[in-house]
């Protein structure tokens, strides 16, 4: 009921309702499901930019500059800034906003910090829901700043229309570590902090890596259909100083030409296919997981204790019990529990 009231306010542009709906989607599967039912029909208009790169490469600082440029063009932008949850406490320190102060009070900008809540990859479970909600609200652009660790670029590449990978001078070894795979998960390279020594060298290293990769990777692509994309798109490499803004207009032009590429060559269909396949996988996993948790919880299902006793007494083996429980999971899903 609360959701319906919020949706009504949301539809007339109430930013607090937007914010509340994001919290609800973030905190529970059931609410996320209800919200999607209401709002998903309104989506499909926002252009999604993913920004990834190691910690401290300047993702937030760059986001701040891109946001500014977008609003100067008279368009509206939502930002989802994701930081890691501490595995020890379950808490998180979300500090990306510090770099985005210029745009706090602009009514065409909405910045939301998110903790990844232990999800692997660069995004949170609910990032897809926040995208839906922001898209439905009418933002022209949605920028996702990923957690800058591990293989977060793989994750965001599966979601965003255009993915920017940030590097800084002196990261040559990391570039080597990217090796194969990098062509599959970036549309644009940004060499940030061009004011530091070694920016040109960095650009050259990436270009030569791209020369190499282009030859080998087209044939053995992990991403379905992305071989086709690669043939016609070589990621440009753009130097910027995100703090001062040098190179930002040129970067925006590169982003726009990638957008043109995406929207004009059937690439969008490939991207959508990957995106919603991932999303379905996420939702299904979570849906099943909820049911599984319930069946394994003695408070919800006391007979699990007997099942486990049967295993410890060697009267049954774990696979046979799992098989039996699996059937119950499916039954309870069918009953809409």
């Amino acid at each position: 009921m609360e959701i319906q009231a919020l949706v009504d306010k949301f539809k007339v542009g109430n930013r607090r309702a937007l914010s509340r709906l994001i919290s609800l989607a973030e905190n529970g599967f059931k609410d996320a499901r209800l919200i999607s039912k209401e709002l998903f029909p309104l989506t499909g208009n926002a252009y999604i930019l993913g920004i990834t790169g190691a910690p401290g490469t300047g993702k937030s600082t760059l986001t701040n500059k891109l946001v500014q440029l977008i609003v100067e063009n008279g368009e509206r932008v939502g930002v989802i800034a994701i930081d890691p949850t501490s595995p020890f406490s379950g808490g998180a320190l979300l500090g990306d906003r510090i770099r985005m102060k210029d745009n706090y009070t602009n009514q065409n900008v909405f910045i939301r910090s998110m903790a990844n809540r232990g999800r692997l990859g660069g995004m949170a479970r609910a990032t897809k829901d926040v995208i839906t909600i922001m898209d439905a609200f009418g933002f022209d652009y949605i920028i996702i700043e990923t957690v800058g660790v591990g293989q977060s670029e793989v994750d965001v590449y599966g979601t965003a229309h255009t993915t920017l990978v940030l590097v800084v001078p002196g990261m040559g070894d990391d570039i080597q570590a990217f090796k194969a795979g990098i062509m599959e998960t970036s549309d644009l390279f940004v060499v940030n902090k061009m004011d530091l020594d070694g920016a040109n060298k960095m650009v050259m290293e990436i270009e030569s890596m791209l020369d190499l990769n282009q030859k080998v990777e087209v044939s053995r692509s992990k991403y379905e259909n992305s071989a086709m994309e690669q043939q016609s798109w070589r990621p440009p490499v753009q130097k910027v100083n995100a703090r001062r803004g040098n190179g930002i207009p040129a970067l925006w032009e590169q982003i726009m030409s990638h957008r043109h590429h995406v929207e004009s060559k059937g690439v969008l269909e490939c991207k959508q296919l990957n995106r919603f396949k991932n999303e379905l996988l996420d939702i299904l996993e979570e849906r099943f997981k909820l049911q599984i948790d319930q069946i394994l919880d003695p408070k919800e299902n006391p007979s699990i204790l007997e099942d486990i006793r049967a295993i410890t007494e060697r009267k049954a083996n774990p696979y046979s019990i799992a098989e039996k429980l699996g059937k119950r999971v499916i039954e309870s899903l069918e009953n809409g529990a």
């Binding site: 949850t85 808490g91 906003r97 948790d293």
Partner: protein, 135 residues
């Protein structure tokens, strides 16, 4: 079947005013993180409008204001006024820093709830938040 463990306490830690360091605010932010909360840290020199916009966008359960410059008499009322304009009444608002005893009653009338001056044990702040959430 709701996954209640997904519900996290969200806190915005903001530093209004002009004074130039935020060590205290950072210590509090870290302590709240270590207590399992999601803490949005916004940095120095926040105006009341920036703070309230952050509250609108981040939807926290708690707003912690850290202040040392004695500007509380101008800044807090303005923040509360903007909160009112935006119909935000379910956020627990705490203040840390140096606020003379004499001023507290007036600020309490405006809707500020907890005061935690310098040297307050961090655990006390954590417990206070857990026991006073408004939603």
């Amino acid at each position: 079947m709701e996954m209640s463990e997904q519900r996290k306490i969200r806190v915005v830690v903001a530093k209004p005013g002009l004074d130039g360091h935020d060590r205290g605010a950072k210590v509090v932010a870290r302590a709240l993180r270590d207590a399992g909360m999601e803490v949005i840290y916004t940095g120095l020199h926040q105006t009341p409008r920036q703070i309230v916009e952050t509250v609108i966008q981040e939807d926290p359960d708690v707003l912690c204001l850290s202040i040392l410059s004695g500007a509380h008499n101008a800044i807090f009322p303005r923040i509360m006024e903007l909160m009112g304009e935006n119909e935000i009444d379910d956020v627990l608002i705490l203040a840390g820093g140096v606020i003379p005893e004499a001023d507290r009653a007036e600020l309490k009338d405006l809707g500020l709830e907890g005061f935690h001056g310098p040297g307050t044990p961090l655990k006390e702040i954590v417990d206070y938040i857990r026991n006073h959430l408004k939603r």
